[in-house]
């Protein structure tokens, strides 16, 4: 996307609506750190509803440009959902057939959203989690390599590059004069790797912090507990400065707080990221009476609403 001084809201395709997401100050949730600015970068403002639009669009459009992807091929990948929604959206926009492998316990909402764009879903064992989906997609591609384009978001350099050119550059446009800390959750590690790389090129040092779940068995959907997971090939711990581990309960509670106090209803991973950001802000307030923390909000909370089983008992 060419650099623009002001955002134009008139686009020729939905793909152009990706990026340039708003940054919103969190004053109430961060009230214990009044001297520190805490900002949430609202990635749910992307057309597919999540931060994953950035990586998916870059991976697809670069592959179409250099011939790795063509209209006779199927794009296949494993995804816990948000990347799948993004692939589905741009598949429909750019005329690419999409197949997704996901654990069968992915929320129904996301299965329905991806199918709405015409995507086909292949389920993997819910007990194996996202690593089981990764193993299954590799097996399918190995059996018929010429049939598929397998972008593999865990090892595709266009995933972090989308954040290097997009998220990181935007944050510097928005608060480059003041940002001291950057916080993002770690899933594929694309957001933290790419954004941190761009922020580290800034004239002042900016501390970049990755957020991981505190325990292997957690409820922060979208985040990876690296010590117990397959390490994504794009990940490099030297690419950022620090890892903070957040418990599921803290993340879930912060999601509730953000909805009630800031009117921003976010997913659980965003709750964990903001929890970490506010902990950092409290420390900065105490130690140096100032600072500016930017937290990435990957998606909106309504993506995790699921119809409850008891609803089946109602006669409509």
């Amino acid at each position: 996307m060419p650099p623009r001084l002001a955002r134009s809201l008139r686009f020729s395709t939905i793909a152009e609506a990706v990026g340039q997401t708003p940054l919103v100050r969190l004053d109430r949730a961060a009230r214990e750190a009044p001297s520190v600015e805490v900002y949430a970068k609202l990635e749910f403002a992307n057309p597919g509803g999540s931060v994953k639009d950035r990586a998916a669009l870059r991976m697809i459009s670069r592959a179409l440009d250099d011939g790795r992807l063509s209209p006779d091929k199927i794009l296949i990948d494993s995804t816990s959902g948000n990347t799948g929604v993004a692939y589905s959206l741009f598949g429909a926009a750019l005329g690419v057939r999409i197949q997704l492998v996901m654990p069968s316990n992915v929320s129904k909402a996301r299965k329905d959203i991806t199918r709405a764009f015409g995507t086909e879903i292949i389920f993997s064992d819910p007990m194996e989690g996202s690593d089981g989906a990764i193993r299954k997609v590799r097996q399918i591609v190995d059996e018929n390599p010429e049939k598929y384009f397998y972008p593999d978001q865990y090892s595709n350099p266009d995933n972090p590059l989308a954040h290097y050119y997009g998220t990181g550059a935007e944050i510097l446009d928005q608060v480059g004069d003041r940002i001291t800390h950057f916080v993002a959750g770690l899933g594929t590690s694309g957001t933290i790797m790419g954004t941190s790389k761009r922020l580290r090129e800034h004239s002042r040092p900016i501390r970049c912090i990755a957020v991981e779940p505190a325990d292997p068995l957690h409820g922060l959907e979208g985040l990876k507990h690296l010590p117990s997971s397959l390490i994504p090939p794009i990940h490099d711990a030297a690419g950022y400065d620090e890892t903070m581990r957040v418990g599921t309960e803290e993340g879930w509670d912060m999601s509730d707080t953000l909805a009630r106090e800031e009117a921003i209803h976010v997913g659980h991973s965003a709750g964990a990221v903001v929890y970490a950001a506010i902990e950092i802000a409290k420390k900065l307030h105490k130690e140096q009476q100032g600072g500016c923390v930017v937290a990435i909000i990957p998606d909106r909370g309504d993506r995790y609403f699921a119809p409850m089983k008891w609803e089946k008992l109602y006669l409509w």
Partner: protein, 91 residues
């Protein structure tokens, strides 16, 4: 007292010596969890807090989430299958 099979998700297999499925005994799910704790110390704390099943853990008896049955007091029969289903990680 009945014997059931319990499917163990990857993150908990460090506690079960790598086993993806174990057998356990009890008349209710609570008893099954307590019986497992005796052999796999730490598993109870991963699954339960003081209020019951942790809110981000899903335990299924067959195809049914036990929240929609009687929770930890749900009775089990011999041969039943319990599944501990984790959250979804990464991307």
């Amino acid at each position: 007292m009945h014997t059931v099979t319990v499917r163990i998700p990857t993150p908990l297999r460090t506690l079960t010596g790598g086993a993806d499925e174990v057998t356990a005994t009890g008349a209710t799910i609570r008893e099954v969890v307590i019986e497992m704790e005796g052999r796999f110390p730490g598993i109870k704390d991963r699954l339960l807090d003081e209020k019951g099943v942790r809110r981000f853990i899903n335990v299924y008896l067959g195809d049914e989430d036990i929240r929609f049955l009687d929770g930890l007091d749900t009775q089990v029969k011999g041969g039943d299958q319990l599944s501990i289903v984790p959250a979804i990680a990464g991307g």
